[in-house]
Amino acid sequence: MRDHVRFWLGSSRQEVRGIAPTLTVLDWLRGPMRRSGTKEGCNEGDCGACTVVVVRPRAGGGLTWRAVNACIQLVGQLDGCLLLTVEDLAAADGTLHPVQQAMVDLHGSQCGFCTPGFVMSLFAMGRDMGRDGAAPDEAAIDDALAGNLCRCTGYAPIVRAGLASIAADDAWRAEAAAIEARLRALDDDEDVVVTSPAGRFSAPASVDALAETLLADPDATVLAGGTDVGLWITKQMRVLPHLVWVGRVAGFADITETADGLEIGASATYSDAMAALGALLPDMGELLRRLGSVQVRNAGTIGGNIANGSPIGDSPPALIAAGATLHLRRGDTRRSLPLEDFFIAYGRQDRAPGEFVERITVPRPAPGTRFRAYKVSKRFDQDITAVLGCYAITLDGGRVTAARIAHGGMAGTPKRATAAEAALIGRTWDADAVRAAQGALASDYMPLDDMRASAWYRLRVAQNLLVRLHAETTGQAPTRLVGAPELAHA
C-alpha cells in the first residue's frame, strides 16, 4: 500500500501525503504551489477559468492530454499523471507557446481572467490535432471551448487564435516520448490510501480491492470523475471523511466491443466512451458531444452519471432507450438489472450499501431500429437539460414493431414513456401515430416547473419532439440547428 499520491507537476515530481481527502487541485495549485495562473471563476466546473491539462499514458501506447476543471478535481485523482498548468507552456527562455502567441497577436484576451483556461483548452485540443493530423475547424473549436466562458470578447478572436495556432508544431511533440516513459515509470499496482486528520482518500488498484474497501466502509463516498462530488465539496461544503476513488482500478475504464454490443466499464469517462457509443448509436455520440463540456466529459463517467441517480443526467435516458443493462457488485456478489429498474424514485436508487456499479452493457440495436436522442436546453452547449427525449423505434414496412422511449427532465427519475410506447407499437408510423403518442405522453409524465423550464414547456417539447422524430425517420426536411446534419436522417 502506498500512503501518498505521486505525479508530475510540470517538470517537478510530486509526492503528496497527509492532505485532506477533499483538497481540490485548484486550491492546491493556488495555495501551497503558488501557481496563481489557474483562476477560480465559479468553483463548480462550469466556467473553465481553472482549466488545467492532465496527461496520462494511453492504453496501447502514446499519451492522452485532457483538459479538466481543477476546481472540482481532487489532488488524489492526480495519481500517476502529468499535470500541466498555464505556467508550464512557455519555453524556459520565455518564448510563448504558439497558442499563447496567437492569443496575443489576434487580441484573444481582454480582461484576461478566463484566458489561462482558454489557453489550456486550446493547447489540449492541439495535442489531438497532432495525433491524428486533423485540421482544426470552427465547429471543432466550438466543441473544445464549450466549457470555457468568456464575458469580454464574444469569442471571435479566441476562435481566430485557435484556428491560427492549434496545429502548429511545438516543443511538446518532441517531448512526448520522454513524458510517456516518465509516466509509465509511475505505474504500480499498489492500493493507495492517503490519510490526514480530515479523513481518508482511498484509491484501490483492483476491483477486488474496491469491493473490499466499500464492504468495509459502506458509508464511504464513491468518487469517479468528481463532476458531482466536487460540488458537494465546493458548494455544499459537505464533510466527506472517506472518499474511494475508482479511477485507479485496473481495467475499470475498459470499453469492450462484443458481438452483442458494448461493455462499458464503470470508470470510463464520457470522452473514453464517446467514439464507441457514437459508432454503435450515432445520435448517442451527438448527445455526448453536448453533454457538459470537454472538461466535464474528460472527468465525468457514465457509471457515475448512473450511480448518482440524478433526474437530469443525460446518459441514463439514452441508455434506457437503447436497452442497456446495469451490472452491480457488492463484495463478491454480482447482479444485473435493466437500467430503468435502477431508478426507484427521486434521490433513491436500487443500490445497497457497499454496492457499486461495475459496468454497463449497451446492446447492438435490432435491424430497422432508429435511435435518436434530443437534448433541449436553454443554451446548446454545456447546459443542464430541460427535456431529453430518447427513442429507439423499430420500423418494418412503415409499421412500428418496437419502441423504447425514455425522457430526462420529465419526472423525478429518468423514466420510460410506457403509454406513448404502447400507443405506437403496432401502428403505421404516420401523423396519426405521432398524435396518439403525443396524447399518451400527457399520461406518462407530470413534469415540474423550475428555473430551467416550466411544466408546460417540458410536456409540449416532449410532444413536439415526436414530430421531429417522425420527420427525421420519414423525410429529408432540415430538423436540427446544431450538430452534424447527416445525423438527422441517418
Binding site: L96, F113, C152
Partner: protein, 774 residues
C-alpha cells in the same frame, strides 16, 4: 481577420490609431497577470465571508452567533452593531443601503453578518452557522406587484416635448402595448474581491476590484469613521466588471477594511460565485408601456411611454439608470410629440445597479418595440419604418430632452450596412425559404443604435492624470481610469506615445490608485478613454511645453523648430535622443512631472425641467442579424451578424472591434438565454453558471462581420477624434431579438407582431410560436 485591424497601421509605432495589443496580453496568456486574489498574502491574513438573509423581507427577531464563533478558526464576527462608522454604503447619499442588515432584512441574500477566520473554508462554513429568527413581512418581488402600490427608491423622471396628448388623439392610427424586459447578471469572470492591510494610525490600504476607487475610498472612510486621506485604494486590473463593480465593490472593501483595522491583520473578502450572484445587483428589469400615434406611411406622430423598473431594495444608481432609459427611448428616431416617464420601483430583491448601457439598452428596446409594432400594423418592412423615422439633419433633430442631434450619421451607417450585408435580397430569400421549411424557420432584422456619450450627472465628466518622466527617459503615466479588460491602459499609453513620439516600451501605465490621482469618476459611461485620454494628453502637453522651452533656450533656436519625432527630438537642425534631452532637462532643473486635467465642454442638464445637453456627442452603429428557429422547441441559432459601427477615428481598431464583438454577444445573451429566475420566496434560483446561461463559444454568430465606419472622425474635439466604444455595441444585440421576432412571425404569415418579451428563451419563443398557431 477584420479588415480594419490590418488596414489602419498608419500612424507612429505604438501611437494613436494603431492596433496595438493589449498591454497585458503577454501576462494574460502566461498566467502572470495578477488579479487581487493572486497578490501575495501577508502572514496572518484573515478570510472574510458573509452570512446572508434567507428571507426576502422580515424583521430580525434574534441572531444567535454562538454557533458561528464555535467554528474552529473563527477570529471575529461582525454584525451591524459592531461597525465603527456609518452603516451605509449608498453611493448617492440616500442612507438606504446598510453594510450589514439592522433590525430587518429587505431581500433574500442580504448580508446580516460577516465572519473573519484563519482559512476561507472556515469562514465560509461559519457564515452558514448562525441561528436567526425572522418575522416575515409582506414582500414585493416583481414589477407587476410593485405597480399595484408603487413605492419608489428615488424620484422618477419625466421628459416631454410638444402636446403629446393632442398629437396622439389626432394621429391617423394608434396602438398601445406592453413589453417585459429581463435583467442581466454581469458575470464578470473575476468575482468581487477586496484585500485590506492595516497601516499606522487610522490608515488602511485596500486592493479592490473596483471601477471606482475614489468612491470605494470615500465609502470605506465613512464606514471606518476616518478621513479620506487615511484610506488608499488601488487596482491594477479587474477580471471584467461591466458596471458590476461601479458601486457593488464598495461593501466588500468596507468589510475587509473593518476587519483589518479591528484585528490588526490583513483581511481578504472574496465572494464565492453563488454568493456574488445572490448578493450583488444586476441590470434592471423593466416593464414598458407604450402608446403610439402614427400614420399609414409608418411615420410616428406621438409617443407616450412609461418605463417601470425593478430597482430592488435600495436606490443605488437606479435614478440615473432609469433616466438613461428615457434618454434612449428615442434611439435614432424623431418623435414629433412625446412624453417619457420612469418609475424606479422598490422591490424586495437585490439592489439593481449599473450594467453596460446603464438603462440605455432597455430604453432603446422599448423604442424598437414601438417601431416593430408600427411595421406590423402598416405591413411595411421594419427597416423602412426605421428609416422613415430617423432623425433628420438640420430638421426633425430635437430629442425628447431638447438636445439637438448635431452629429447624425445614422443614415450613413445603415446605408453602409445594408449594402455590405445584402439585406434586401437575403430578406426576400428567407421569406421564400420559410414557406418550404416548416420545422426550421429563419428571420432577419436590422436595427440601429444611437448612444449618448457623457455622464448625465455633469460633475462626473472630469478627469485627472499624473505623468512622470524619469531621468532615463522612461515615462510613468497614472490616471483615474481603471482597467477591466476594455484596453483603457493600452489606449492611454498610445496617447502618451502619440504626443511624445517615444518608443512604446518606454511608457508604463501604472496601477490606478487614489494616492496618485484623487477624486476620480467611475470608469463607466464609456468615458474611460475620452476623459482620461484628454487628461493624460494635457499632462503630457504641459511636459512638452516645458521641454520645448528648455530645448529652445539650451540650443538657442526658436521654440517652433522643436519637434517630437519618433524616438528623438528635433531641435533646430539637429536630432537629440529623447532620453538625452530628458537628462539635460533634469540637470537644468526642469520639472519632469506634471498633472493634467480635463472637463467635458458644452454639456449641461436640468433634470427637473427635463431638458439640456446631457451628451457631448452620440456614438452610432447598426447590426443586421439572421437567425434560425426550431419551431418545435423554440431553440435558435444566430446564423449571421453584420455590424457597422462608428468609433470616430478609432484610437485602436483592434481593441474597438473587440469591444464591438464582445458587446454584441453580451447584448445577444441578455436578450436570449440569460434568464434570471426568482422563486415565490424571493430566492434567486439562477445563481451560478450552471443555471444562468451566458453565451458560450458556439453561441456566437456563425458568420460574424464587423466593420468600423469609414471617414468617421468625431464631430467634437474628442481625444484624437475618436469615439467612446464601451457601451454602444451592447445594443447592437437588439437585432437578435428582432430577428427572432421576424422568424416567429413567419409562423403567422407576418400578419401579427409576436410581441416577444426579453429574454427570448427557447421557452418564450415556443410560446410565441404556439400563440400564433392557436
Amino acid at each position: 481577420m477584420p479588415d480594419a485591424i490590418a488596414e489602419r497601421e498608419t500612424s507612429a509605432e505604438g501611437g494613436a490609431h494603431r492596433s496595438r495589443r493589449h498591454e497585458s496580453a503577454h501576462k494574460h496568456v502566461t498566467g502572470a497577470a495578477a488579479y487581487i486574489n493572486d497578490l501575495p498574502e501577508a502572514p496572518g491574513l484573515l478570510h472574510v465571508a458573509l452570512g446572508l438573509s434567507t428571507r426576502a423581507h422580515a424583521r430580525l427577531v434574534s441572531i444567535d452567533l454562538d454557533p458561528v464563533r464555535a467554528v474552529p478558526g473563527v477570529v471575529l464576527v461582525l454584525t451591524a452593531g459592531d461597525l465603527p462608522g456609518e452603516n451605509d454604503t449608498s453611493p448617492v447619499g440616500k442612507h438606504d443601503e446598510p453594510l450589514l442588515a439592522e433590525g430587518h432584512v429587505a431581500f433574500h441574500g442580504q448580508p446580516i453578518y460577516a465572519v473573519a477566520a484563519e482559512t476561507r473554508e472556515a469562514a465560509r462554513r461559519a457564515a452558514r452557522a448562525a441561528r436567526i429568527v425572522y418575522e416575515d413581512l409582506p414582500a414585493v418581488l416583481d414589477i407587476e406587484t410593485a405597480l399595484a402600490d408603487p413605492v419608489l427608491v428615488t424620484p422618477g423622471a419625466t421628459m416631454q416635448r410638444g402636446d403629446w396628448a393632442a398629437a396622439l388623439d389626432a394621429a391617423p392610427r394608434r396602438l398601445s402595448g406592453t413589453m417585459a424586459i429581463g435583467g442581466q447578471e454581469h458575470f464578470y469572470l473575476e468575482g468581487q474581491v477586496a484585500l485590506a492591510e492595516p497601516g499606522e494610525d487610522d490608515e488602511v490600504r485596500i486592493w479592490c476590484s473596483t471601477q471606482h476607487p475614489s468612491e470605494t475610498q470615500h465609502i470605506v472612510a465613512h464606514a471606518l469613521g476616518v478621513a479620506s486621506h487615511a484610506v488608499t485604494v488601488e487596482v491594477r486590473r479587474m477580471g471584467g466588471a461591466f458596471g458590476g463593480k461601479e458601486t457593488q465593490a464598495n461593501p466588500f472593501a468596507c468589510l475587509a477594511a473593518i476587519v483589518a483595522k479591528k484585528t490588526g491583520r490583513a483581511a481578504k473578502l472574496r465572494l464565492d460565485r453563488d454568493d456574488d450572484m445572490i448578493v450583488t445587483g444586476k441590470r434592471h428589469e423593466f416593464v414598458v408601456r407604450y402608446d403610439v400615434g402614427y400614420d399609414d406611411d409608418g411615420r410616428i406622430h406621438a409617443v407616450d411611454m412609461l418605463y417601470a423598473a425593478r430597482c430592488g431594495y435600495s436606490a443605488d444608481l437606479s435614478g440615473p439608470v432609469t433616466d438613461r432609459a428615457l434618454f434612449h427611448a428615442d434611439n435614432c428616431y424623431f418623435y414629433p410629440a412625446v412624453r417619457l416617464r420612469s418609475l424606479p420601483l422598490k422591490t424586495n430583491t437585490c439592489s439593481n445597479t449599473a450594467f453596460r448601457g446603464f438603462g440605455g439598452p432597455q430604453g432603446m428596446l422599448g423604442g424598437e418595440r414601438v417601431i416593430e409594432e408600427v411595421a406590423f400594423a402598416t405591413g411595411l418592412d421594419p427597416l423602412e419604418v426605421r428609416r422613415r423615422n430617423f432623425y433628420g439633419i438640420g430638421e426633425r433633430d430635437l430629442t425628447p430632452y431638447c438636445q439637438t442631434v448635431e452629429d447624425n450619421v445614422i443614415a450613413d451607417v445603415v446605408d453602409t450596412l445594408v449594402a455590405r450585408c445584402d439585406y434586401a435580397a437575403r430578406r426576400a430569400t428567407i421569406r421564400a425559404a420559410n414557406a418550404a421549411a416548416p420545422l426550421i424557420v429563419r428571420g432577419i432584422a436590422l436595427t440601429p443604435v444611437k448612444f449618448g456619450i457623457s455622464f448625465t450627472a455633469t460633475q462626473f465628466n472630469q478627469a485627472a492624470a499624473l505623468v512622470h518622466i524619469y531621468t532615463d527617459g522612461s515615462i510613468a503615466v497614472n490616471h483615474g481610469g481603471t482597467e477591466m479588460g476594455q484596453g483603457l491602459h493600452t489606449k492611454i499609453a498610445q496617447v502618451a506615445v502619440e504626443e511624445l513620439q517615444v518608443d512604446a516600451g518606454s511608457v508604463r501605465v501604472t496601477a490606478t490608485t487614489t494616492g496618485k490621482v484623487p477624486n476620480t469618476s467611475a470608469t463607466a459611461a464609456s468615458s474611460g478613454a475620452d476623459l482620461n485620454g484628454k487628461a493624460v494628453q494635457a499632462a503630457v502637453r504641459t511636459l512638452k511645453d516645458r521641454l520645448v522651452t528648455f530645448a529652445a533656450e539650451q540650443y538657442g533656436v526658436p521654440p517652433d523648430t522643436v519637434a517630437f519625432l519618433p524616438g528623438r527630438v528635433r531641435i533646430g537642425n539637429q536630432d537629440v535622443p529623447f532620453a538625452a534631452l530628458i537628462r539635460q532637462a533634469y540637470f537644468a532643473r526642469v520639472q519632469l512631472s506634471a498633472t493634467g486635467f480635463y472637463k467635458t465642454p458644452k454639456i449641461h442638464w436640468d433634470r427637473d425641467a427635463g431638458r439640456g445637453r446631457p451628451f457631448y456627442y452620440f456614438a452610432y452603429g447598426a447590426a443586421c442579424v439572421e437567425v434560425a428557429v426550431d419551431t418545435l422547441t423554440g431553440e435558435y441559432r444566430i446564423e449571421r451578424a453584420d455590424i457597422v459601427h462608428d468609433c470616430g477615428r478609432s484610437l485602436n481598431p483592434a481593441i474597438d472591434i473587440g469591444q464591438i464583438e464582445g458587446g454584441f454577444v453580451q447584448g445577444a445573451g441578455w436578450l436570449t438565454t440569460e434568464e434570471l429566475v426568482w422563486d415565490a420566496a424571493g430566492r434567486l434560483r439562477t445563481h451560478a453558471p450552471s443555471t444562468y446561461k451566458i453565451p458560450a463559444c458556439g453561441d456566437r454568430p456563425r458568420v460574424f462581420n464587423v466593420h468600423l465606419l469609414d471617414n468617421a472622425a468625431s464631430h467634437e474635439d474628442t481625444i484624437f477624434r475618436s469615439k467612446a466604444v464601451g457601451e454602444p455595441p451592447l445594443m447592437l444585440g437588439i437585432a437578435v431579438l428582432h430577428a427572432l421576432s421576424d422568424a416567429v412571425a413567419s409562423v403567422g404569415g407576418w400578419r401579427v407582431c409576436p410581441r416577444l418579451d426579453a429574454p427570448a428563451t427557447p421557452e418564450r419563443v415556443l410560446r410565441a410560436i404556439e400563440t400564433l398557431r392557436a
